[in-house]
């Protein structure tokens, strides 16, 4: 798979969908493509995060530690991004991601990503827009949950 295909995958991610093609190419070229073998741990809950992964092929399980052991909360697959919070803010990984049958992903390093942001304000604005939308979404869910609990 070549650069152009990677750019297409990146463009499918809401976080990047409105970015210029040239910026996406730059992001793709400055990111490594990595392959995980079946059963590999891509990131583990509580660990340091320095990269986000855009999955190109394969699937992974999102696991969360609970007092009763790890439980699977979601599954991620091609075209999805995992660990994106880590490239924006220094917080420990909030979940563990384990590959199912092996997985190929584009590894977006935190430093390169932040450099891209500082280098082009419109990209930063796009990111803010996406994050604000997510926040609004979360708020809406919270409101719903609160009113459901009140009922």
């Amino acid at each position: 798979m070549s650069l152009t295909e990677e750019v297409d995958v990146l463009r499918g991610i809401p976080l990047f969908e409105r970015m210029d093609v040239s910026k996406l190419k730059l992001l793709a070229i400055s990111s490594d493509r990595v392959t995980f073998r079946p059963g590999a741990i891509m990131m583990s809950q509580g660990g340091d995060g320095d990269a986000a992964y855009v999955i190109i092929s394969g699937t992974g399980d999102v696991l969360i530690d609970t007092p009763g052991g790890q439980i699977k909360v979601a599954e991620v697959g091609p075209g999805q991004i995992v660990g994106e919070i880590a490239i924006l803010i220094d917080v420990p990984r909030t979940a563990t991601v384990k590959t199912e049958e092996g997985l190929t992903a584009l590894k977006i390093g935190k430093e390169n990503f932040l450099r891209l942001l500082t280098g082009s304000p419109q990209v930063a604005v796009e990111i803010i827009r996406v994050l604000a939308a997510r926040l609004e979404n979360t708020n809406a869910q919270l409101r719903e949950a609160v009113s459901a609990a009140g009922r």
Partner: protein, 872 residues
């Protein structure tokens, strides 16, 4: 050291100077015979009357022509003799001057080694270095002339004077009438020039000091934007030198002017007064001409004498200005450093170290140690704690005798250490400073630095080398230089408890383990090349490791992590350049950055018809790069890491792309093609994923690879060390030889897994020790610049342990490391130290490892606690 230059000259070269003088005088008659002979040839042999011949010459009767021939050959002989004298005298003078210069420099350097430590706070390298190197340089020339020249010229002068006075006393007096005036006025004028000369020396020194200071403080200059201040300051110093120089020129030429005037004033008097007398018939013209020519003869040596006088004044100032800088108060006694004591006894671990009202005063106001009292056994493990500036830095230096107390007494085993030779303090004790210095040599040489006090024997030398060594040492002795030969074997492995260098290396391995340096040195060895002729067994094992690695990778189902070099295959994890050369560049004939410019590379590519394709790839990649990086800031690290194009070349590539649009490669000139061609060489398909390297290209590169190697011209045969699956590549590191391939891009955790497997293979083949030993050859760089600060300090600790000291004094030394490493080192070093340890530490929580903890404040011991009381 002699205060005056003549004191120095007479003390060390009296006999040679006298000899030179004798030879100079021996040459004298021949110099005068030459013009005399010319006169004879012209007047007698050629112009002689036929009646005068045949002439009797030492019993032979000679006709005119025979006489002429004889005289001409005599002339030739005299010319040769004169030339030979001149040659001999000049060489002797030069040799004498050089030997004396060598002696002077050696003495000055030897004194630097004895300077009291605090003196280095006042003088800078920038001052000392030019004094020893440049400032004394002209003295060599002067010293050769110092005696022979003035005596010879004065001798000539006196000879002429006597000659004239014998002929006519009044003529003689008239001829030298002006000499007293010149002799009085010129030193007067010269005095001012001398004073200026001294100022000039000082001003030049200040300039070198400023330069060295600017270099040391270059980061401060940049980070404070003070380069313009530095420039202005430097210009002001240069201006000062210019002023002084100008003034000196001015005065020098005034002296010359007056001198010439006075010299010509005498003939003026002769012509005027003598002429008047001659016209009036009171003086014969012959007598007048006689006086004038006598004056002319005498003026030549007189002028030489005056020139010598100026040269002497110059040399005197230079000598005195240098020597006075090398005599600071409190210099270490020469005997304590140079003389070898009859024995260097071990310091008994039971003997007492006693500091009694010890005081160390640095200057008027700084008294870091005052009324310091402490007693302990040499074998004790002592921690010194306290706040900075309270004396915990100075006491270790005093104990290691790097500083001398200014009051009180510091005794070990009852004997005052101030009288100890350095052979005791430097061999039985060890000292590690907070920022230890490493010499620009190998790790091994640095570790063994403390074992090289005296030559312990000659190396195994051929007869010829032994003769050369003797000649070298004899010449050393003639200049009063060191009587010890640097080429001898200086490393006393016995101190380490080892008999041979190989055993020494084994001991060093144990020592670096105690300072937690094994991993680092192993890394140096693994990532460095080794000389197969010196490590044959290691090379053999590495070849085994290469096989074993691929087996292990396959066992763990990791074979995809390394793409091996295969002569028949294109390596997708290597650059195109690596794929083409299929080897390591070992000489400067090839430049990895601009391989496409090399005529041989280019001709090989042409043969397989690759140039066109590569230009196309270059064009495609350049287009992408220009698009992506056009609005990235030039300093952005993205450029460094991901662009094939340097930021400053971006506009050039933009031009190339515009031109390409007009007529592709044909529209470009040679240089532009070179720029385009440079790009594909850097492409790594697996990493860059541009899809530009097609299978077609891959096949062509493999073809070119074969041709490149086959047709390589003889003069380039040594320029590339080719990859060969069955042989060791001496130009690559051990690690690359084990890998024999590239770690694949894009495998999560790939490098870590490969690193682990390499370590396992190394472990399994039992070659870790050999790799560490290869790592001892790692060059540390100037001041240890190729190591991290922590590594440097660890090497310094290891260097101290290698001496197996009775008392190990550690001043800080680990302060800059992280807390976990500090604790580990305290623990391990205490375990490894064969004798007592006094460690000035900054964390009191590590104090629990010591027998006794001494708290120092305001230059005094304020509290002594047994270590057992501190343990939690």
């Amino acid at each position: 050291m002699d205060r005056s230059i003549y004191g120095f000259i007479f003390r060390h070269s009296k006999a040679q100077q006298l000899f030179l003088l004798i030879v100079t005088f021996a040459a004298f008659p021949f110099i005068y015979l030459q013009p005399d002979l010319v006169k004879t040839i012209v007047n007698e042999a050629i112009g002689g009357e036929a009646a005068d011949f045949p002439k009797g010459v030492i019993g032979f009767e000679l006709e005119q022509v025979a006489y002429l021939v004889l005289m001409c050959f005599c002339f030739l002989l005299i010319v040769l003799i004169n030339g030979a004298f001149k040659y001999y005298i000049n060489v002797s003078k030069g040799r004498l001057g050089e030997r004396m210069l060598r002696r002077l420099r050696y003495n000055l350097y030897s004194r630097v080694l004895r300077f009291p430590q605090p003196h280095f706070k006042r003088v800078s390298q920038g001052e000392v270095i030019p004094m020893i190197t440049q400032e004394v340089e002209p003295l060599g020339g002067f010293i050769g002339d110092a005696v022979a020249q003035p005596v010879f010229q004065a001798g000539m002068l006196v000879t002429f004077l006597i000659f004239i006075i014998v002929q006519d006393i009044y003529m003689g007096m008239a001829a030298i009438a002006m000499f007293p005036i010149q002799g009085w006025i010129i030193p007067k004028l010269q005095r001012k020039v001398n004073a200026l000369g001294k100022q000039r020396v000082r001003a030049v020194r200040r300039v070198s000091e400023r330069i060295s200071e600017s270099i040391s403080g270059i980061q401060e200059v940049h980070s404070n934007d003070t380069s313009n201040l530095m420039r202005a300051e430097f210009a002001s110093h240069l201006g000062r030198i210019y002023q002084i120089r100008y003034e000196i020129y001015h005065r020098k030429f005034v002296i010359k002017f007056i001198n010439n005037f006075l010299a010509q004033f005498t003939p003026f008097l002769f012509y005027l007064i003598g002429g008047y007398l001659a016209i009036n018939g009171n003086l014969s013209i012959g007598a007048l001409i006689g006086v004038i020519s006598a004056h002319k003869d005498m003026n030549a040596p007189w002028k030489e004498l005056l020139a010598f006088y100026q040269q002497y004044m110059d040399a005197r100032i230079k000598y005195e200005q240098v020597v006075e800088q090398f005599d600071p108060a409190g210099m270490l006694e020469e005997s304590l450093q140079v003389d070898e004591p009859s024995e260097v006894p071990a310091i008994s671990h039971d003997s007492d170290v006693a500091a009694q009202s010890l005081t160390y005063q640095e200057d008027e106001t700084t008294i870091p140690i005052q009324g310091f009292n402490l007693q302990f056994k040499v074998g004790d493990r002592l921690a010194v704690i306290g706040s900075a500036g309270g004396g915990k830095e100075e006491f270790p230096s005093l104990l290691a005798r790097l500083l001398f107390p200014t009051g009180g007494r510091l005794a070990i085993g009852g004997s005052d250490t101030k009288d100890w030779p350095e052979a005791f303090t430097g061999r039985r004790m060890a000292y590690v400073s907070p920022s230890a210095y490493l010499f620009s040599e190998s790790v091994r040489a640095n570790l063994l630095f403390g074992l090289k006090h005296r030559p312990i024997g000659m190396l195994d030398l051929s007869d010829e080398a032994i003769r050369a060594r003797e000649a070298r040492l004899a010449e050393n002795a003639r200049s009063g230089n060191s009587s010890e030969d640097f080429e001898d074997n200086w490393i006393d492995y016995a101190v380490l408890g080892a008999g041979t260098p190989a055993e020494g290396d084994e001991k060093l391995i144990a020592i670096i383990e105690s300072v937690d340096l094994t991993r680092d040195i192993y890394g140096f060895g693994l990532r460095g090349p080794v000389d197969p002729s010196k490590h044959p067994s290691l090379v053999e094992s590495v070849m085994q490791a290469r096989k074993l690695l691929s087996v292990r990778l396959a066992d763990e189902d990791h074979q995809g992590l390394v793409e091996p070099y295969d002569p028949e295959k294109y390596n997708d994890n290597a650059t195109l350049a690596e794929n083409l050369l299929f080897g390591t560049i070992v000489s400067e004939d090839f430049d990895a950055e601009s391989l496409g410019d090399h005529p041989y590379v280019l001709s090989t590519l042409n043969e397989v018809g690759l140039v066109h394709d590569l230009l196309n790839i270059g064009y495609e990649a350049a287009t992408l790069m220009v698009e992506l990086f056009a609005d990235v800031e030039p300093g952005d690290p993205l450029f460094e890491q991901y662009s094939f194009i340097k930021a400053d070349l971006l506009p050039d590539y933009q031009t190339i792309l515009t031109k390409w649009a007009r007529g592709q490669a044909e529209a470009l000139n040679e240089q532009e093609r070179g720029l385009l061609l440079a790009i594909p060489f850097k492409l790594i398909p697996a990493r860059h994923r541009l899809g530009l390297i097609t299978d077609d290209i891959r096949n062509q590169v493999i073809m070119a690879r074969g041709q490149f190697r086959e047709n390589l011209p003889d003069q380039l045969a040594q320029a590339v060390e080719f990859f060969d699956p069955s042989s060791y590549n001496a130009a690559s590191s051990i690690q690359d030889n084990i890998l024999f391939g590239k770690i694949a891009y894009g495998e999560a955790e790939g490098p870590e897994i490969v690193g682990r497997i390499i370590d396992e293979v190394v472990e399994e083949l039992n070659i870790k020790r050999e790799i560490i030993i290869a790592g001892f050859d790692y060059q540390v760089g100037i001041g240890g610049s190729r190591l991290s600060g922590t590594q440097r300090q660890k090497i310094a600790l290891a260097r101290a342990l290698a001496k197996r000291p009775d008392l190990l004094v550690i001043n800080g030394a680990t302060d800059a490391m992280d807390s976990r490493t500090r604790e580990l080192l305290v623990h391990r070093v205490l375990e490894a130290a064969p004798g007592g340890v006094l460690w000035s530490i900054s964390d009191s929580e590590h104090a629990k490892f010591f027998d006794k903890v001494v708290e120092v404040s305001s230059g005094k011991v304020v509290q002594e606690t047994a270590g057992s009381e501190i343990k939690e």
